[in-house]
């Protein structure tokens, strides 16, 4: 799990660092030589499409998809479990819907042999296939989490269910930041 997270993060980071470098070159060349390389804009769009599907999945693993916990924390364990389960189910439903909608996009692209409205006229099927794979990974991850939540609910392991899926609290985030800060200062001193 941690390795999958690392892999996705490295992929995500490389996409956007690479994109930044490309854009920086494009801006400098445009300013200094007055020629546009074209395409950095277009690539930016594709980077976002692929990057956002990776980001959806990483946010899912980190329980970052925001849920308001003002009521949640006042409920009994049973109600919390019910809500956490329902949330995982609805999230899986939304991810599945995005997956199905992505199929619709791919089908249209294949039917019309669509190309990008740019000077490159990239056949859209190239970036869209990668995007589709990312969307599918998100769908499968959300489904797996919902299945596990259902299993835990069926076995009555509510405490485990709540521990796995409760909304992320500010306290958790603060603790993480403090931990990271301590590590940074340790590094700065050595």
């Amino acid at each position: 799990m941690a390795r999958l997270e690392n892999l996705l993060a490295a992929l995500f980071g490389s996409i956007f660092l690479g994109l930044s470098a490309l854009i920086a070159i494009e801006v400098v060349v445009r300013k200094v030589f007055g020629v546009s390389l074209q395409g950095a804009d277009e690539l930016g769009g594709y980077a976002l499409a692929v990057g956002s599907t990776l980001a959806f999945t990483l946010a899912l693993f980190g329980r970052n998809h925001i849920r308001v916990d003002v009521l949640h924390e006042r409920l009994s364990v049973t109600w919390q479990a019910a809500l956490n389960w329902l949330s995982s189910l609805l999230m899986a439903g939304f991810a599945a819907l995005l997956g199905v909608l992505a199929i619709g996009v791919i089908r249209d692209t294949l039917d019309f042999q669509s190309t990008a409205q740019t000077s490159w006229a990239t056949p859209l099927i190239y970036p869209q296939s990668v995007w589709y794979v990312g969307q599918t990974v998100f769908m499968l991850a959300a489904a797996a989490i919902a299945l596990r939540a259902s299993y835990l609910l069926a076995r009555g392991r509510l405490a485990q269910l709540n521990a796995d899926l409760q909304p992320r609290s500010v306290k958790e985030e603060v603790d993480e930041e403090l931990h990271d800060l301590a590590a940074r200062q340790e590094g700065a001193r050595s």
Binding site: S20, A24, E26, I66, V68, L83, L90, M91, V170, L181
Partner: protein, 430 residues
């Protein structure tokens, strides 16, 4: 269409959000169900291009880039050094170190970054020295919580990008419009601190030699240069919003490499955090665009505009009502979600009353800032409460932040009375 339907749908969405279901899901569900009820299953076919369109939108590419920029500055220690430098210089003003809280938060805000991370960084370094310096804990916590809100107004601001993308308003103009209100608000906060500490609290500052203080100025160079690159390239028309973000990222990587802050564990943390935060934001935006499609197809916007026109409200009374609306909603909701969930309804109404779209963006973001420090759910209140070194109560933090809420509400009225506070700078660019 009757105005009751959209209001009912909005109420259902709010109820789903407040019971703790994922916000993106609540918005998408209302959008999809509404669309299918109105047009049947073929509605789904029109959603497909919207989903690809949002995720392929070059403007939104700036969201992960700005988040990454803030992460690099934070995790490689550039932000930490900036605070120490400011603390050395601002310690002598009335209110002393409290100014450096506001100042660092404002400067950090100007280079983007999460409010949790800002408050945690500044707070951990600041609170122990504030405590030993004899500052009242309540004032210290209040200044930290309030300083942390400046981030979403002073550009680059993810909240302004989200507003621009949802309403098709120029983000370059919004960024320029945020500069003066952001700085003015910072000045008001500092003025309040200076006045309230004139009554003389016992303080013991450690005198720092001038040479050391001058040397520390070097630590302010990276954040200032990055701010100038980002805003300068937008202002001069050299780069688009997304391009300016990319330039900022490259500059930050350069400074980080120079300060020997770059290594794989640090980068990995930056990447994971950026992915998580942008994934959360982008999923909400995707859902918002699905909801927007339903709203525009079914003519909800026109219905709401006609309704607000039929009430015979003036623009001013509408805005005053909105202040109350956002104040109450902000007490219970996360502010980004509040912004995304309400704009599809409030924006067309504001346009119907002839309110400037750029100005309205600044107004909405200001109300979001208030939402960050109003109890019971004020993100920044929880954050500073989580990092305080003593065992005080939450009520203490709330009371410390209260004066700033009053200042912000006063500022909202000022913004209504003098719209040029926001609009002057963008008008200079045209």
């Amino acid at each position: 269409m009757m105005v009751a339907y959209p209001l009912l749908a909005f109420a259902i969405m709010l109820a789903m959000i407040l019971t703790g279901l994922p916000i993106a899901v609540a918005m998408a569900a209302v959008g999809i169900v509404g669309g299918v009820l109105a047009y049947g299953l073929p509605f789904l076919e029109s959603v497909s291009p919207v989903v690809w369109g949002v995720q392929n939108d070059n403007l939104l590419t700036s969201v992960p880039l700005f988040v990454l920029l803030g992460e690099i500055l934070l995790r490689t220690g550039i932000a930490d050094r900036m605070y120490r430098a400011l603390a050395m210089w601002m310690g002598r003003m009335p209110g002393g170190l409290l100014h450096s809280n506001i100042g660092t938060c404002a400067l950090f805000a100007a280079t983007s970054g999460s409010s949790v991370a800002t408050a945690a960084t500044v707070g951990t370094v600041a609170l122990p020295s504030l405590q030993s310096g004899g500052y009242s804990m309540r004032h210290s916590l209040g200044s930290l919580a309030a300083g942390g809100t400046l981030g979403i107004m002073i550009p680059p601001s993810v909240n302004l990008i989200v507003y621009g993308s949802l309403t098709s308003t120029s983000v370059g103009q919004l960024f320029l419009a945020g500069v003066i209100p952001g700085l003015l608000l910072t000045a008001l906060f500092m003025g309040f601190i200076a006045i309230s500490s004139l009554r003389g609290e016992p303080r013991r500052e450690v005198a720092v030699p001038l040479a050391q203080r001058l040397h520390a100025l070097l630590d302010l160079v990276p954040p200032l240069v990055i701010f100038l690159i980002v805003m300068g390239s937008i202002y001069s028309g050299l780069a688009t919003t997304t391009e300016s973000a990319a330039l900022g990222v490259i500059a930050a990587m350069g400074f980080a490499a120079k300060g020997r802050g770059l290594n794989w564990p640090t980068l990995r943390t930056c990447f994971i955090q950026t992915a998580r935060v942008s994934g959360m934001i982008l999923l909400i935006i995707t859902a918002a665009f699905i909801l927007n499609l339903t709203i525009s197809l079914t003519g909800v916007a026109e219905t709401m505009s006609a309704w607000v026109a039929s009430l015979g409200l003036s623009a001013t009374s509408f805005l005053l009502a909105l202040i109350v609306f956002y104040l109450v909603l902000g007490m219970f909701m996360d502010v980004l979600s509040m912004q995304v969930a309400t704009i599809p309804i409030t924006f067309p109404m504001a346009m119907a009353l002839g309110i400037d779209p750029v100005w309205f963006g600044i107004f909405v973001v200001l109300m979001c800032e208030v939402g960050l420090i109003t109890p019971p759910v004020g993100m920044n209140l929880f954050v500073v409460h989580g990092i305080r070194p003593d065992n005080g109560t939450m009520a203490d933090v709330i009371r410390g932040a209260l004066p700033y809420v009053v200042i912000m509400l006063g500022f909202a009225l000022l913004l209504i009375a003098a719209p040029s506070i926001a609009l002057w700078l963008p008008e200079q660019m045209q």
